[in-house]
């Protein structure tokens, strides 16, 4: 079953600016979909339209089988977790959780039960009578999620909920959000600009750029089969190397060197995409020679910044490093080469 259906949605502002230019996505029951993209790509606008905080200029948003375009946020059966949590600072945690239920006219006994349940689930029971200002960032984050949970929504909406936390806490909360969402079995949309968050959390990733969807797919698909140079460079760290190359007769030429590839359909200029972690420094075999520049040792992996002709190239590897400013032979498997159209950037 589909929880949320977004059909050809546009968002135009009165000043003519277009934030979303025709987006269609379905969110299935219990699925966690991550909207990822650089700032200004329309991901937050999209989320806010689902929440009802922004009006929809064109298109349809259907939640749990009914069109919600013209419904108030409170009538949509959604729950949202904001980046800065937006807890009510003058209310205790308990009141923060209960406020929405109270406004809906839920009987007090049921409010108490739901609040206690959520508090237990999130382990914030001991903070129930404190004010948000007396809590740490992680605890506030939990309260914000609690406020979403007690509403028992059809879908959770997360708007970069972890970006105010420090790196360590962020990793921990990321895992918790995932576990929680799994155990509740509620569908969720999660907006972030952090590709690591997107990869780890998502059942499906929606990569947005400039108000349009670049690619929708499982994290692994998006990583291994990027649909465009934009996706290729956005997902994965360090980003994929994108090299200007010329293809002809099953051979590819970059910076004066050429070697055989399996892609033969198209001749002419293309972009060759190579993931740094799929490149190897080899002692022999077919590959291309690069000039080794700066080396970075990250502990788990080592990055080699090299130059191939006049183009930059990054290689990630965990074995011995070559000498700086020496020459090295780089090889890769044919499956690991990605080909993109030079002008449109789409995958070939």
């Amino acid at each position: 079953m589909t929880t949320l259906r977004i059909k050809d949605v546009f968002k135009r502002y009165p000043n003519g600016a277009e934030a979303v230019k025709g987006v269609s996505v379905d969110v299935e029951d219990g699925e966690l979909v991550v909207f990822v993209g650089p700032s200004g790509c329309g991901k937050s606008t999209m989320l806010r339209m689902v929440a009802g905080l922004e009006s929809v200029t064109e298109g349809e948003i259907e939640l749990a089988g009914r069109v919600v375009n013209d419904l108030e946020p409170a009538e949509r059966n959604i729950a949202m977790v904001f980046q800065n949590y937006a807890l009510y600072p003058h209310m205790s945690v308990r009141k923060n959780l209960a406020y929405g239920l109270k406004n809906r006219g839920t009987p007090q006994a049921e409010i108490d039960r739901k609040v206690d349940e959520a508090a237990k689930l999130l382990q914030i029971g001991e903070f129930l009578d404190r004010k948000p200002s007396q809590l740490s960032g992680g605890q506030r984050q939990r309260v914000a999620m609690g406020r979403a949970i007690v509403r028992d929504p059809a879908i959770f909406l997360f708007d970069e909920p972890l970006s105010n936390l420090d790196a360590k806490l962020r990793n921990q909360m990321r895992l918790e959000i995932k576990k929680l969402q799994r155990s509740l079995g509620t569908a969720a949309i999660y907006v972030t600009h952090d590709q690591v968050e997107a990869m780890t959390l998502a059942d499906r990733i929606v990569v947005l750029n400039n108000g349009l969807i670049e690619q929708v797919g499982k994290p692994h698909e998006v990583y291994s089969q990027p649909a465009s140079t934009f996706v290729a460079s956005f997902i994965g760290a360090p980003p994929m190397n994108l090299l200007d190359a010329t293809l002809s007769d099953g051979r590819i030429e970059i910076g004066g060197q050429s070697f055989a590839v399996q892609q033969t359909q198209k001749a002419g200029p293309i972009k060759l995409g190579l993931r740094p972690e799929r490149l190897q420094v080899a002692s022999g075999g077919e590959g291309f020679r690069v000039e080794v520049g700066v080396l970075e040792d990250l502990g788990a992996t080592r990055l080699i910044h090299a130059r191939l002709g006049d183009q930059d190239l990054t290689i990630a590897q965990d074995s011995e490093l070559p000498e700086p400013s020496s020459e090295a032979l780089i090889t890769f498997r044919h499956d690991d080469a990605h080909f993109f159209d030079a002008s449109s950037g789409r995958r070939i």
Binding site: A51, G52, L53, E72, P73, A74, I78, A79, M80, F82, Q83, N84, A86, L87, Y88, P89, H90, M91, Y99, G100, N103, R104, S133, Q134, L135, S136, R147
Partner: protein
């Protein structure tokens, strides 16, 4: 944020304590100078008040003969009882107590009225998209250039035509529109993150409920600060009540001082003690309000609780 900051505070101060040994001396000197300056300030400001209070405890003959006093005169109870309870004025029906009551009504009505009106105005300006919202705000703001004294004749005309002369509503209502208050509340509301209203919308709170449940409690310290300022301003009104009320039953303390003095000019010896006692009484409530609420007052103006 606040928590993180206070967490970091203790080590910082203990660091200072360690390095403090040497610069301690000049520091305590600075402290001393600070206190001397403050003491001089207190002396200059409080001196006349103390003298006025002490003088008011003497009988009027002594004051007339020897001038202001700096000793305790022993007539305290008698004088103040007279001022509060003795019926005076032209009609012989006004007591100090009644004037105090009038002053309180004016001060509180003025302050509460201004807060209610300016909060609602700021709420409309900040949170509602109505045509010419910014323009309306600036029009309200420019009224700061037109203080009461400038527009007193037309204001009188209006109040008179509405038949509100000699009434509490006539004293209060024409004054409760406040550009200052609207400005303060507007700035404060603008500093409240937008997500707060969005969260409230998702929680199903309508405009009225958002105002009551979220904005008013958040503005608590702000309200207290503005209440204090406006209460003192209202309490000290002189020109407006003088014009609006001619019946003695509506006289305020501030007017009463003048009135007693005026009456006494006709008598052989002016009752200075009672005039001074009334002045002291007139100063007391605003001073008390400020002393009681000063912490909230400073918090409201300086700190923004979010």
């Amino acid at each position: 944020m606040a928590i993180a900051d206070t967490d970091r505070l203790p080590p910082a101060t203990s660091d200072k304590a360690k390095t403090k040994t040497k610069p301690q001396k000049p520091r305590s000197n600075i402290r001393l100078y600070d206190h001397i300056v403050l003491a001089i300030g207190v002396f200059i400001m409080m001196g006349p008040l103390v003298v006025a209070f002490l003088t008011s405890t003497h009988d009027y003959v002594t004051i007339h003969r020897e001038g202001m006093q700096i000793t305790w005169g022993g007539n305290f109870l008698e004088t103040y009882k007279n001022v509060l309870y003795q019926k005076g004025g032209f009609t012989g029906e006004v007591t100090g107590l009644l004037m105090t009551q009038n002053s309180l009504i004016l001060g509180i009505g003025f302050a509460v009225g201004k807060i209610v009106v300016s909060m609602l105005a700021a709420y409309a300006i900040v949170y509602f998209r109505f045509p010419f919202a910014t323009l309306s705000f600036w029009i309200i703001f420019t009224t700061l250039l037109l203080p009461l004294e400038v527009r007193i004749l037309p204001s009188y005309e209006v109040v008179q035509q509405l038949g509100m002369l000699n009434s509490y509503s006539g004293l209060i209502i024409p004054l409760i529109a406040s550009a200052t208050g609207t400005f303060f509340f507007r700035q404060f509301f603008k500093s409240i993150p937008n997500e707060m209203i969005e969260a409230a919308r998702i929680d199903g709170a309508g405009p009225v409920q958002f105002f009551w449940d979220i904005l008013v409690p958040l503005s608590k310290t702000m309200i207290a600060a503005i209440f204090i300022i406006m209460f003192v301003v209202g309490w000290n009104q002189y020109l407006w009540p003088t014009l609006m009320t001619t019946e003695e039953g509506y006289f305020t303390l501030v007017r009463g001082i003048r009135n007693i003095m005026q009456q006494m000019i006709g008598a052989d010896i002016p009752e200075y003690n009672e005039a001074l006692a009334m002045a002291v009484l007139a100063m007391l409530p605003p001073a008390l309000v400020i002393m009681i609420f000063q912490r909230m007052f400073i918090k409201g103006l300086v700190e923004q609780e979010k």
